[in-house]
């Protein structure tokens, strides 16, 4: 392997970009491929499939064997609202291997004392998400109930094709939210991607139980991505 290939592969992973290292097992040599790059006809479908599934594998085409080593960014969980549920979710997300961060402009909520072990930004989502955009490997859970805080990131999450978009709130709250989001130009189909009421239907009552339901729903959305059941 060329050192430049290794460097390019590592740089893409560090920058949260999907990347594929294509190694020619028959003739030797390799290439670093990004989503959308042009590849030989015999490999195009396999490369596309690898980027979708995240599964690395060997492919034979034209009498040659190739290894497709694909790397998708680790799942990130962005939570809007430094609320009680977020406190429980922070510990659980860490155990489950999700890189979680919390955004809440209300300084009284977003304190290091309440959230000792998670990245916490006492900023408006408008400012944070401009600096660190959402992407398809990110889940967004809006937990404040406050339209001033939740609406913008929900809309951004839909536009960024986040693999999960969830919003806390009663059916009535959500019905009002749908109308507001429609007024911003989102289609019914786009708005329909929002999971509300948030969380798997496990009868969760306490903040910690709701956190379990939310995390379970996030995991399901990630693992069933593209299978039509997510």
């Amino acid at each position: 392997m060329d050192i430049s290939s290794l460097r390019a592969f590592n740089a893409a992973r560090d920058a949260r970009r999907a990347v594929l290292l294509l190694t020619d097992l028959t003739g030797g040599g390799e290439r670093v491929i990004a989503p959308g790059n042009t590849v030989e006809e015999g490999l195009a479908v396999a490369v596309e499939d690898a980027f979708r599934s995240g599964k690395s594998r060997v492919v034979e085409t034209g009498g040659r064997k190739f290894f497709l080593n694909v790397h998708l960014p680790p799942p990130r969980l962005v939570v809007i609202g430094a609320v009680h549920i977020s406190q429980a979710l922070a510990s659980m997300a860490k155990i489950a291997g999700y890189d979680m961060e919390i955004i809440d402009p209300r300084a009284a909520f977003a304190t290091g004392e309440r959230f000792p072990d998670v990245r916490l930004y006492a900023e408006w989502p408008e400012d944070m998400l401009e600096a660190r955009p959402l992407d398809a490997f990110t889940a967004l859970a809006a937990l404040t109930h406050d339209p001033k805080i939740d609406d913008y990131p929900l809309r951004q999450a839909i536009l960024a094709d986040c693999f999960y978009v969830g919003a806390l709130g009663s059916r009535k709250t959500h019905a009002a939210r749908i109308e507001r989001l429609k007024a911003t130009g989102l289609s019914d189909e786009q708005i329909g991607r929002i999971r509300a009421p948030i969380g798997l239907d496990i009868g969760a009552a306490s903040p910690a139980e709701i956190a379990v339901a939310v995390l379970g729903e996030v995991i399901a959305a990630l693992r069933k991505r593209g299978s039509g059941t997510g």
Binding site: M1, D2, I3, L6, R7, F9, N10, R13, D14, A15, R16, T23, L25, G28, K55, S56, R57, V58, F67, N69, V70, H71, P73, D99, E101, R119, Y121, E123, A131, R132
Partner: protein, 116 residues
């Protein structure tokens, strides 16, 4: 805030074998990377798992639960010496060809190549 953002995605990369390989090379070491490219049955490490080996036999990462690393490291020494990639297969069925096997009953294929 700027500093916080710099650190966002560097959490556990320190132990990632591909990153370790890059660091070792920058430190002047000769390095081979072994990668699990196929698995059959129950295999301890998934496809894409890496073991990185240097010319002194130091290694980092894993391609199995410790069952075949010794053999892979030995092969990696040859790969580092002659620069030719090797395709190794391990499994119960290959016990006569290889003195090591996977106790779990699975089978794995490992590609070993020199970097640089």
């Amino acid at each position: 805030m700027e500093d916080a953002m710099q650190n966002i995605f560097s959490s556990d990369d320190i132990s990632d074998p591909a990153d370790v390989a890059e660091r070792w090379i920058e430190g002047g070491r000769t390095v081979a990377i072994a990668t699990v490219i196929e698995t059959w049955g129950s295999a301890p490490r998934p496809v894409g798992s890496h073991l990185v080996i240097d010319g002194e036999g130091n290694f980092h990462g894993s391609v199995s639960g410790g069952c075949v690393e010794g053999a892979v490291i030995a092969e990696a020494m040859d790969v580092i010496a002659d620069g030719k990639p090797r395709l190794l297969e391990f499994g119960v069925a290959d016990e006569t060809a290889w003195r090591v096997g996977l106790s779990c009953g699975g089978r794995i294929s490992v590609y070993v190549e020199r970097v640089g």
